[in-house]
Subunit: 321 residues, 2 copies
């Protein structure tokens, strides 16, 4: 995985430059609000997946597809802006959220502007029209699914009986489909055949789900100093994560942790969940998903890019922040 | 114009059936919220413009483009759902607004789902891929413009010095571009050449602006019993409409009407504005726009559909509700 980090850095720099060009350097208050979160950094993982998928199908093709890579980052950012309004979160990526810095109507509109721009970027790709139409279809379907995933996630807040199946369906839609779209769109626009597109789509779907499961683990296990987030906030809020669901299956009562938690309380919860085998089981779900993702990639010829895609999957489930 | 009304009724019936099929008959709470306003009726004017533009370019082509006609109605409805949240309006088309019947997060998501579906519908049209990509581009640009128009409209609320130029720019974006997109997309998907597409786009743009100006006149002139809306609400709220702007140019003080208004007060304001020539000037702006629209259509061969497009323009500026 030693090559992954420099690769991701190089993609991030390219995307940052495009964001400057297409978003930051534009006049007008609504444009500023649309650019705000886009320009606040981020790992640009979805653009990297678009580019790697394209190059894994047709070496060197990603140069022509940078507009599609940007489209995925722009789509992701629009969903974050709208999510922040719904959850009334005030901070994201170390900056004020859009509806906090401006207001709720501007937040809705800033997200809506990015939504449109994502489709414009796809149309600007240097590829066959037939491929662009397929890419638009994949992106539009992903956007509709993300909305359903976010709606499911919010509906879970009022429940304590969410099943593993429901959780996986929510994560598939809320997080998985956009990684799936990233890989699928890269493959389509690079001229991939149906089998290749499907394989890359499924690769993205599984790694995306694994990414979210790892996020649930990080929330519990990573100290705030390292993650930059409040440790064990899911536990404190009684959120229906895969950890919570697996614990319930084993008869563990985590309701007692729905309160202010000291460092000792958090350690006790981790000890309890580890002893019951919950942590290992959740980790296994994530690593199994990644292993399955890699199988999808076996239909592609061996290449540096195919290896980097596998490295991304590996990175998703081993990161601790 | 005797043929316009039955034509519009027939389009509305077709679109209503598609809405039933693609939206109403779907399970799930978010789908219900997305379908709510779509199913609450409406004149389906934008779909009619898509179909007439297509048939004016290539007779009979609209049969293959119903998905695009639906896309325009779905786009319009998404903007209404989000606007209702921003303006916190509780009623629309005689039913509760989405965020009132459900809640704000569901309103945002219901709009976002329709946004995605609009692009999916375009992809489903039976047309050349090159035309579909152009249609996606036109629709995406229109969506971004509508956001800017809505943002301008909201920013006007804090001002009393909006110029005619600023007003026209706002209306062009908020209302004009979606009619422009409707006509342009119909022409593109029917296989129209660049000149035809541009002509129909500009036809839609001008008639759309005229439509909004007529809305401003209706607000002031049409009694509530007939319009179903509160008469003179713009005046009472000090809204920067073209009537308000023209009145200011003539040195009329309408600030005195920013209060509860009796029927006598409203009649007095109408008398004052009429005497100063404001009403006639505003009507002339709208009718000039429609006359200009019709000139754009002169490059098309004479046809029933071209006449119906002209009739729609005429209808926009003569309707009183």
């Amino acid at each position: 995985m030693s090559e992954l980090s420099p690769y991701l850095n190089s993609v991030a720099k390219q995307i940052d430059r495009m964001i400057d060009r297409y978003y930051v350097d534009r006049a007008g208050e609504l444009n500023k609000a649309s650019a705000h979160l886009l320009a606040a950094g981020g790992k640009r993982l979805r653009p990297a997946v678009v580019m790697l998928a394209a190059d894994a199908v047709k070496p060197g093709s990603s140069d022509d597809l940078m507009q599609a890579a940007l489209a995925l980052e722009v789509t992701h950012t629009f969903t974050l802006i709208h999510d922040d309004i719904m959850d009334d979160d005030s901070l994201r990526r170390g900056v004020q959220t859009v509806h906090t810095k401006w207001d709720m109507p501007t937040g809705i509109l800033a997200g809506d502007v990015l939504y449109a721009r994502a489709f414009e970027h796809i149309c600007l790709v240097d590829a066959k029209d037939e491929a662009k139409v397929r890419a638009v279809k994949i992106l539009a379907k992903a956007c509709a699914d993300i909305c359903e995933g976010q709606h499911m996630d919010m509906s879970f807040e009022h429940r304590t009986d969410v099943s593993e199946g429901e959780y996986m369906e929510m994560v598939r839609k809320k997080t998985g489909v956009l990684y799936a779209a990233a890989a699928g769109i890269g493959a389509v626009l690079a001229g991939g055949n149906t089998v290749q597109v499907k394989a890359l789509y499924n690769f993205g779907l599984n790694t995306g789900i694994a990414f979210q499961i790892q996020d649930d683990l990080i929330d519990l296990l990573t100290p705030s100093e390292k993650s930059g987030k409040d440790q064990a906030s899911d536990l404190r809020e009684g959120k229906q994560t895969i950890i919570m669901i697996k614990a319930r299956e084993k008869g563990l009562d985590l309701q007692k942790y729905r309160r202010d938690l000291s460092a000792a309380d958090i350690n006790e919860s981790i000890r309890e969940l580890t002893a019951a085998g919950v942590i290992d089981e959740v980790k296994k779900i994530a690593t199994d998903l990644v292993a399955d993702s890699n199988k999808h990639l076996s239909i592609l010829p061996d290449s540096k890019e195919r290896q980097l895609l596998m490295d991304i999957g590996e990175f998703f489930v081993t990161r601790s922040s």
